[in-house]
């Protein structure tokens, strides 16, 4: 696993998976990200990212939960792994550190 850090979209997807807490699959993740970021996202992009994150070992998945709405097909639910959580935290820390160094913001606080 490369330690390259997370892309912005990857981070959003990871966060969405965390929020959904085991209920995250393609569509729910797409909607979650759309709700928070306010932009519209292609379903394919979500799928590709979910799989990439899984390949990196940041997510794990299992099959389950078919409904009539989807023609009886099962979903793939994603869950964050420990490594995934670590990455998220690391990303957050880097940002936090950098935020604190911005002089314009120091005085206003």
């Amino acid at each position: 696993m490369a330690n390259k850090g997370l892309g912005e979209f990857e981070e959003l997807v990871l966060l969405a998976v965390c929020i959904l807490d085991g209920e995250g699959y393609g569509i729910s993740v797409k909607k979650e990200v759309e709700r928070h970021s306010g932009r519209s996202i292609l379903l394919g992009a979500v799928h590709i990212t979910l799989y990439r994150l899984q390949d990196k070992g940041l997510l794990q998945s299992k099959i389950g939960g078919s409904t009539v709405k989807r023609g009886g097909r099962s979903k793939r639910f994603f869950k964050i792994t420990d490594s995934g959580l670590k990455h998220l935290k690391a990303a957050q820390e880097v940002r936090q550190k950098m935020w604190e160094l911005i002089p314009q913001l120091k005085f206003n606080m």
């Binding site: 393609g26 292609l42 379903l43 394919g44 590709i48 099959i63 709405k69 989807r70 979903k75």
Partner: protein, 907 residues
């Protein structure tokens, strides 16, 4: 396929089942269906389906075997190396492949450049979206219709004052008389065509984006004698010197005088419907144009001006034109007692002017009008040629595949998977396509000037300057590689290794009927193009050989003088006395000029006129009826004044009555054609001589009746013509020469002209040449067709050749056995080429309805047309048959004459 019931696109699902892994397939289709349902209920079915496709393609690209990001990039380097080696190894084959593809794409690019240029007309104006030209359509009580892009002078001002939606207006008037323009400092004098003078309102340069090189936009046309010239004109007169502030003298034309240059415009874009060299204030024309006679009738007479309106951003053109209709009724109704019927306006967007202006019954000053039909035809041809080229690639690569069988077999047996092989072959296709695309670009860029000269119209490189073109070009190249590469790739990669290695030859290589289908498509394309070429030439020949009802051979036409020395000046345009005096003076000089010209034995007739055959200029469209009939039955006819000698000079054939002679008083007599007899109910030619007709409100006596003549191209129907006696301004002087010593006659004419009209350069041309120039556009159209057909045939032949050599190769053994058993060479050649003759036959059958349909709709543009016979099918079919037999025979002959021992030995 199982998704019929839920409405998701079946094809998309099928693709997914082909390209996605089982586990992902289930999950993704589930997600897609879920979201699809939501979208159907929220945004409707069409939207949902489109989004479904979009998402599906996205996922397919992301996850399928095609995804380049899922494999090690080193692998791709390897594919590339193998692809290069393969291309290099089969140099001739690769060259043929790249050339045919490159030519195909190149032609397509050329056509795209032309189409883009035609579509780009006037798009450079910032105000494009809310600028409209006013079109007026008149419907007479008799139901006759006419439309024109001209309005009266006061129309625009009144409209702006009364209709709040109109933000601003600008009017133009294109001069209708040529003038001599002189730089008084250097005495440089050039006779400038009428079309190069454009009169416009002061805000013209604000409304239209013609950038000024020097001068201030707001004030360049503020003075009555201000003039703006273009860069080219400035160079002609002043070279490197700065022309601003200098004077130019204009003699003759619509308004002579000395003008001060206030600005210089950059070279006008080629794709502008307005073209001019000199821009003058329209107020100048209004106040003192045509000897001051322009404003004599008031602002609501004389529909001469092109009017452009800029509307507010929320205004609806339809609402505005309704209000304009009311305006016309209110103002023109009062002024005009003549029966004009109902006038309705439409607003034509600036962007539509170039391609959608062909229906006006009066000639448009935007003379370089485009032809929407041609643009459409060429777009279709471009696609056909592009597909022909791609199909060729498919045929060539599949035909080559037997040579690759061993390679595939070895690769497979050492563990290559199918998708790796597919990638390998796609890489080759990509490489060939990219090289071909580069070649095509070079070809298109270097051939564009050549294309310009064929179509007789300067083109620019506009297409190649927009970023979206490059994105599109890249996309088409990649799409093309996939389209043309996928089929061969799957055929090649599906060989069974044992078969491929053991026999060295594969019995069934892909679907032969598919490839025959592709060849059939290429044949159909070639047939259509050959038929198109043939039809255009046939029609042009037909028009040239048609009896015109006029004799234009050895008629020389001089441009009339613009300066007449010692002419009494007209100081007041409303003073009829002065105008008459000037006219009488002009006539006296012209009469003696005529006598002097005709004194020479070689010249049999001379006449002066405002109009000449082949041109619609200076012909008015007037409301004419038989005297005694009510106004409402009047019909439009074309009318123009002719001097005496006109009938003789142009050899019009009199059916009854006599030609107009010198002593017939001005304005009272007319000559009509047969069509006019019919239109106005004048009876037989003899009867007509007893009748009078009304032109507007003036009665005229019919002096003679002539046979119908083709004043213009045979595109036009016969129309009623009424030739009035009188002349006045001689825009053209025509002389009939009756000897073969043209040189001598011209020398005589030159001498007389110089002595009567000193200061006027002699400008002449021959009538028959000028008349045939009307068909130039048709001939150019035919030449283009010819060029495209040649290329399409070339590409198709290459494909055919490949296919035949492939199947000849397959049948080597069969041919060997037949030969041993005593078959003749001819027999064997027939055996080998038979199936392609069948394909050709099928192609001919398919193309017949298309040829007849397109041929008919093209010929419908012409009132007088050649008949649409079976020769239109037979000639192209024969041409194609000969060419394909020639292509095929080399290969079949060499196979049929080869030694059967060689063919049978391997076993």
């Amino acid at each position: 396929m199982e998704n019929k019931k839920n409405g998701t696109p079946t094809l998309a699902n099928w693709l997914a089942s082909k390209f996605l892994k089982k586990t992902q397939h289930e999950e993704f289709l589930g997600d897609l269906e879920e979201i699809y349902r939501e979208r159907v209920s929220r945004n409707g079915k069409l939207y949902a389906r489109m989004k479904y496709w979009l998402d599906m393609l996205h996922i397919l690209i992301g996850f399928s075997v095609l995804n380049p990001f899922k494999t090690d990039s080193a692998m791709y380097g390897h594919y590339l190396i193998i692809a290069k080696r393969n291309l290099w190894r089969n140099k001739v084959y690769s060259l043929i492949n790249i050339l045919s593809l490159g030519i195909g794409i190149g032609v397509c690019l050329l056509i795209a450049a032309y189409v883009y240029f035609e579509l780009s007309y006037d798009r450079f104006h910032d105000n494009l979206d809310n600028t409209y030209r006013v079109i007026v359509e008149q419907t007479k009580d008799s139901g006759e219709k006419g439309s024109s892009p001209y309005t009266a002078y006061a129309f625009a001002e009144t409209a702006k004052a009364e209709i709040p939606e109109i933000e601003s207006f600008t009017r133009v008037f294109q001069a209708d008389e040529s003038a001599i323009v002189t730089d008084p400092e250097s005495e440089k004098t050039i006779n400038q065509e009428a079309a190069s003078f454009l009169y416009a309102d002061g805000n013209f340069l604000e409304r239209f984006d013609f950038p000024l090189k020097t001068g201030t936009q707001e004030s360049v046309l503020s003075g009555l004698y201000d003039i703006v010239i273009t860069e080219e004109i400035a160079e002609k007169y002043f070279g490197q010197r700065n022309p601003v502030g200098k004077d130019l003298r204009i003699d003759g034309g619509n308004s002579s005088g000395t003008y001060t240059i206030t600005g210089v415009l950059e070279k006008l874009p080629l794709n502008s419907h307005l073209k001019f060299g000199f821009l003058l204030p329209i107020e100048n024309f209004w106040k003192q144009g045509n000897g001051g006679s322009v404003n004599r009738y008031g602002g609501w007479e004389r529909q001469w001006y092109g009017t452009y309106l800029t509307l507010g951003s929320t205004a609806e053109p339809a609402t505005v034109s309704k209000k304009l209709d009311g305006l016309l009724l209110k103002y023109e109704g009062q002024v005009l007692s003549e029966n004009r019927g109902v006038e309705k306006t439409t607003l034509q967007n600036l962007g539509d002017i170039h391609l959608r202006s062909d229906k006006y019954t009066v000639p448009d000053y935007a003379a370089n009008k485009g032809n929407l039909l041609n643009v459409r035809i060429f777009t279709i041809i471009a696609f056909f040629i592009l597909f022909t080229a791609w199909f060729n690639y498919i045929n060539l690569s599949t035909a080559r595949s037997m040579h690759r069988a061993k390679e595939v077999g070895i690769r497979k047996s050492i563990g290559a998977r199918k998708k790796q092989l597919v990638r390998q072959f796609l890489m080759e296709s990509l490489l060939v396509n990219i090289i071909a695309a580069l070649f095509a670009l070079g070809l298109a860029l270097s051939a564009l000037p050549f294309l310009s000269s064929i179509i007789g119209k300067e083109l620019d490189y506009g297409l190649f300057q927009i970023p979206s073109f490059w994105i599109f070009f890249l996309a088409v190249t990649i799409l093309g590689s996939l389209l043309s590469g996928l089929y061969p790739a799957f055929v090649l990669s599906s060989f069974r290794p044992i078969g491929a290695l053991a026999g060295g030859k594969i019995a069934s290589l892909g679907n032969l009927s598919l490839r025959k289908g592709l060849i059939a498509f290429q044949f159909v394309t070639s047939l259509l193009l050959i038929a198109g070429t043939f039809l255009v030439y046939k029609q042009v020949t037909f028009m040239k050989n048609q009896e015109l009802g006029m004799d234009m051979e050895r008629v020389v036409v001089l441009k009339g003088p613009t300066i007449i020395s010692d002419m009494p000046e007209v100081t007041d345009g409303t003073n009829m006395e002065q105008i008459r005096e000037a006219q009488a003076f002009t006539k006296t000089i012209f009469d003696s000029f005529k006598d002097e010209i005709i004194a020479h034995s070689s010249i049999s007739a001379v006449t002066g006129s405002r109009a000449i055959p082949g041109m619609s200029k200076n012909i008015s469209r007037q409301d004419i009826r038989k005297m005694g009939e009510p106004e409402s039955v009047g019909k439009y006819g074309r009318s123009f004044p002719i001097g005496s000698g006109f009938i003789e000079t142009y050899g019009l054939e009199l059916l009854a009555g006599k030609s107009l002679s010198e002593d017939m008083a001005k304005d009272e007599y007319v000559i009509v054609n047969e069509e006019a007899l019919k239109a106005y109910g004048l009876g037989s030619p003899q009867d007509a001589l007893q009748e009078k007709i009304m032109i507007g409100s003036k009665p005229r006596t019919i002096a003679g009746v002539v046979k119908n003549f083709h004043w213009q191209s045979l595109r036009d129907k016969h129309t009623p013509y009424v030739l009035r006696s009188g002349g006045g301004i001689n825009v053209f002087i025509s002389a009939k020469i009756n000897t073969s010593d043209i040189e001598g006659s011209l020398a005589h004419i030159q001498k007389v002209y110089d002595s009567f009209y000193p200061g006027n350069p002699l400008d002449y041309f021959f009538m028959d040449d000028a008349f045939n120039r009307q068909y130039l556009e048709d001939i150019q159209f035919g030449n283009l067709f010819l060029g495209f057909s040649l290329l399409a045939i070339l590409i198709a032949c290459i494909g055919l050749f490949a296919l035949v050599s492939y199947s000849a190769n397959l049948k080597t053994k069969e041919v060997g056995i037949r030969k041993v058993l005593g078959a003749s060479t001819g027999n064997l050649m027939l055996l080998l080429s038979k199936e392609y003759l069948v394909v050709l036959g099928i192609a001919v059958a398919f193309s017949i309805p298309a040829i007849l349909y397109f041929g008919k709709s093209w010929l419908d543009n012409y009132a007088f047309r050649t008949e649409l016979g079976m020769d239109l099918v037979i000639v192209p079919a024969t041409v194609l048959l000969l060419i394909s037999v020639l292509t095929v025979s080399r290969q079949t002959y060499s196979t049929a004459t080869s030694n059967p021992v060689d063919a049978l030995r391997p076993e």
